[in-house]
């Protein structure tokens, strides 16, 4: 068997490791609010107060909700439970489309209305050639 020293060194490493995991867990738990990159429309509904500071809202662009007006674009971000109405004027990323993920950065006017200053597209984990997508659609 291994000597006493080896066992002690193992115990030392194991205890350092466990306390590191525990502290990392506690730190991340308490910072959760800041670690998330965006809030979902449901999170917005549960906000205690609406502050006039920059936040990000993310979710799916609701189907048939994009309305392009001369100076701005309107659409609805949904997480399939709650929705938020977003208005934006500026350049849209190429992947922005209905039924796809989106993250809007800007200011919350009230619980249902968001004025975006920047739009980011969030794509999902699915990768396939266009032909396969067509075949899936036909099904």
């Amino acid at each position: 068997m291994y000597g006493r020293k080896v066992k002690l060194r193992f115990l030392f490493i194991a205890s350092v490791f466990l306390s590191l995991i525990l502290s990392a867990f506690l730190i991340l738990k308490s910072l959760e609010e800041n670690v998330v990159y965006f809030k979902s429309p449901s999170d917005i509904q549960f906000l205690e107060e609406i502050k006039n500071q920059k936040i990000r809202v993310g979710g799916m662009v609701k189907e048939n909700s994009i309305k392009v007006l001369p100076e701005k674009i309107n659409f609805i971000v949904t997480d399939y439970k709650n929705e938020i109405y977003v208005v934006y004027s500026g350049v849209l990323p190429n992947l922005f489309s209905e039924g796809k993920g989106v993250v809007a950065e800007g200011f919350l006017k009230d619980r249902n209305f968001f004025e975006a200053t920047k739009i980011l597209a969030k794509h999902d984990e699915n990768y396939m050639p266009p032909e396969v997508k067509e075949a899936l659609k036909e099904k």
Binding site: F38, V91, P93, V103, K118, L120, H123, E125, Y127, P129
Partner: protein, 238 residues
């Protein structure tokens, strides 16, 4: 266990590390040629991202390799510390630089990929930030070797750096599941369904093999240098 350590004796390994690189190099050139042909020419474009999906074939393998190398370094450093085997530390040291290079490649290609898809070069989301922290740990590790190379506490310092850094590795892996991130969730899953079409998965795996071979090549050359340093000190064993 004693038998395993015998296999790691420098004199025996030196023969391998001085002869193997040219074969590994040849294999690397073959595999990366196939991988790049598949990734850049033969693989289809994505239905959503069209040709920008090709960045994935560099980005994803680079990220995997950098995570894999850091995990191996931690395992080696901890074993070296517990069983007092200096050779493990030298293997770990020789692995580190290619890990850092692939980590930086993953960050840079991610940034280049982010602009056409997300619409931004950089986002402080959990996945990207934790990956940047991993790069800092690699950097710390390599700097520590530079500064304290000849001190006898170098092994303890580098072990502690890997022990702190390894906490970050599962955070990188699960960041996309635990928190809302701009980064997509994993496409390749062992337990659940893989959401990447086989025609795109194939070049991805070949590129991973190519990058792994490249790390092996750099590792062999670095490790060979370490062994030569020991020989020059006139020590026949560690």
């Amino acid at each position: 266990m004693k038998f395993v350590f015998k296999l790691f004796e420098p004199n025996k390994i030196f023969l391998i590390t001085s002869r193997a690189p040219k074969y590994v190099m040849a294999l690397f050139i073959i595999v990366i040629s196939i991988g790049l042909l598949e990734a850049l020419i033969f693989s289809p474009e994505d239905y959503k991202q069209s040709h920008s999906v090709r960045i994935m074939y560099v980005h994803v393998p680079a990220a995997w390799i950098s995570l894999g190398i850091f995990s191996s370094m931690t395992f080696l450093s901890l074993s070296g510390y517990i069983f007092k085997n200096k050779n493990f530390f030298l293997i770990s040291k020789s692995l580190a630089s290619s890990g850092l290079v692939f980590n930086i490649i993953a960050l840079v290609t991610g940034s280049i990929w982010g602009k056409p898809t997300w619409g931004t070069w950089w986002a402080w989301d959990a996945r990207i930030t934790s990956m940047l922290i991993l790069a800092l740990f690699y950097f710390m590790y390599l700097i520590a070797w530079r500064i304290y190379e000849n001190k006898d506490y170098i092994f303890k310092i580098t072990t502690l750096i890997t022990l702190f850094g390894i906490i970050n590795v599962p955070i990188i892996k699960f960041s996309v599941d635990w928190w809302n991130t701009l980064h997509q969730p994993a496409s390749i899953n062992i337990l659940s369904k893989t959401t990447i079409h086989s025609s795109m998965l194939f070049p991805l795996l070949i590129m991973t093999a190519a990058f792994a071979l490249f790390s092996l090549l750099i590792f062999l050359m670095k490790y060979n240098t370490e062994l030569i340093k020991i020989k020059n000190k006139g020590l026949d064993r560690l």
